[in-house]
Symmetry: C2
Subunit: 136 residues, 2 copies
DNA sequence: CATTCTGTAATTGACTTTATTACAGTACAA
DNA sequence: TTGTACTGTAATAAAGTCAATTACAGAATG
């Protein structure tokens, strides 16, 4: 994964899991993560599109989990923030006249798929509730 | 992994494995990958530090594998290019006054280590020779 | 000793990510 | 019904990252 969005999204969800039911404001969340509130709202918007978060506009509004923390797998969080490939995106444009260059992206892609499968298998095993449980 | 260095290093090593014994110039390699020769030399320099490549300066110089392709595990390549953490580096500076923020980097790091372990396990199983064997 | 390489530093440029500004719209509460 | 406190989102600016490029010293060869 290429971005810092995974930790941000997981932080957001962890905060919500730790205060289940309450609506948290983007300003409060941004204060905990120490980033800009607009970025928090963007991530919340994304997580909402993936059915992990519900939010409420207006005064006393905010966001909360859309389902209980033990129903949220970390693999869902991964999918929600995942855009590019795990290990360096195959955006390289190798020389098609070279016998190695011509084929390497195909084989790299296979390798990445294999590895990403292993990664997802791990993330699948841990729920947000499991993750929160580590905090004391 | 955050960078495009893994595919570049693997490409370099694959070229060398496919023409075992020969010294390849950074210009030739750069032509196959379609990147700048200086970047190739930087990667070669790094791979040499990890004992995967030997190089020779001067006219008719170049680089070649330091050991046979079936002795090189892809996990070694990963280690050679790995600097930052796999999933978004914990460069966030969460608020230490927040009970979640205070602890989250620790738990994120544990999670990353766990996942990286799974990834390395996969890469450990494949040698450079295995990777090259896929090419026909 | 000219040539062809590596090795490496320094700079520039392209791109990506995050912060910031701005503002419309929504819900609540006095 | 109006002020306030929020979300949602777009647009822009600032910061950071990564690769390309330039430059050049040094090594090996013929």
């Amino acid at each position: 994964m290429n971005n810092g969005r995974f930790p941000i999204s997981l932080h957001i969800l962890t905060l919500m899991a730790s205060s289940a039911g309450e609506l948290l404001s983007s300003d409060y969340i941004a204060g905990s993560i120490n980033i800009n509130p607009v970025l928090v709202r963007k991530e919340i918007s994304n997580l909402r599109n993936f059915g992990l978060i519900e939010s409420k506009e207006g005064k006393n509004g905010g966001a909360t989990l859309a389902k209980s923390a033990d129903k949220i797998r970390l693999s869902e969080v991964y999918h929600a923030v995942q855009q590019a490939s795990l290990l360096g995106n195959s955006k390289n444009k190798p020389n098609p006249d070279c016998p190695i260059g011509k084929q390497i992206n195909l084989h790299l892609d296979h390798l990445y798929e294999d590895i990403e499968g292993a990664l997802l298998h791990r993330l699948e095993k841990m729920s947000l509730a499991d993750f929160l449980r580590q905090f004391q």
